[in-house]
Amino acid sequence: MVNRDDPRTSLEERAKALFDDSVERVDGRTRSALNQARHAAVEELKQGRRSAVLKLWAPVTAAAAAAVVAVVMLNPAGQEQPLAESGLPFDDLDIVADADDLEMLENLDFYAWLDSADALPSG
């Protein structure tokens, strides 16, 4: 219960009221600066979360990407045969699927050549 005759309570209440009034009267320039600072802090939180997720998933994502590329290249459009029936060795596919770095994606030309070389008649 508030005792309004208690000078200590009156001082605290008056101080709080003055402070609240000063908060309401913060000028526009300051409010804008605070607004920008808040957005920067929220963005910092988002960036931190994305970095953490990226570090966790990067190697798995690279392997999955390599596997998808291998599927596309080893099974060109028009051919509905499963890989096993095409006669392609599964060892090559396993090597590609095991790749855990993004350099594999940079060797697409090599794999395209490999694919065309296999299609050439021997002899």
Partner: protein
């Protein structure tokens, strides 16, 4: 077979990504709401402590970033005392730098007659232009700020956190990194001193 496996894996990752995005948005919204609630009060508390608009803004900005960086993924109910702990640390850093600067300046030729403890910003006028007629509220606030400026640092912290920000004793102790008993002591001494200084004015 490989295509089906890749499709299933991709769908699994997509649902994880959606969950991740939802969590990220939720955290970001919570932080935005919290900072929006405290930012102006934090600025005023910093302004009263350091008596300079731009320094106070820098302090609040740094504190927001630090909270997001170091504690953004803690439960939101922990943010308030954590944020004000960071704010008080930044205020202390600012005041310490000023003291060092004042000391260095006092060693320069022609500066020796200056008081080492002189507040460099004491003579700097307030950033906001002063109205021709000072309202009674402005005068009372000015008197309060001057009285607060003369309090020992810990008493000033305890008073502003308890009275202005409304932290309870436990939260204030967490922000000030001291015991709850110390908070009560600092606060009661602050009130006593302020009553003595402001009694005639108020």
């Amino acid at each position: 077979m490989v295509e089906l496996a890749s499709l299933g894996t991709a769908m699994h990752w997509e649902s994880d990504a959606v969950r991740g995005n939802v969590a990220e948005s939720s955290e970001a919204r919570a932080l935005d709401r919290f900072l929006s609630d405290v930012e102006r009060r934090a600025f005023r508390i910093a302004r009263i402590a350091v008596r300079h608009d731009d320094d106070a803004l820098d302090i609040v900005q740094d504190s927001m970033l630090q909270l997001a960086r170091s504690y953004g993924r803690r439960p939101s109910e922990e943010w308030r005392p954590l944020f004000f702990r960071i704010l008080q640390n930044r205020i202390r850093d600012c005041l310490r730098r000023r003291k060092v600067r004042a000391k260095l300046l006092s060693w320069l030729p022609g500066q020796n007659d200056q008081n080492e403890d002189a507040d460099l910003y004491a003579s700097v006028p307030d950033a906001a232009p002063q109205p021709a007629e000072q309202s009674a509220t402005d005068e009372a606030m000015r008197a309060l700020e001057l009285a607060l400026a003369e309090l020992p640092a810990r008493q000033k912290e305890a008073f502003m956190l308890r009275n202005f920000e409304g932290l309870d004793v436990a939260e204030t102790a967490s922000a000030m990194r001291c015991s709850e008993g110390s908070v009560k002591t600092h606060y009661s001494r602050a009130v006593h001193t302020l009553r003595e200084r402001l009694g005639d004015v108020w």
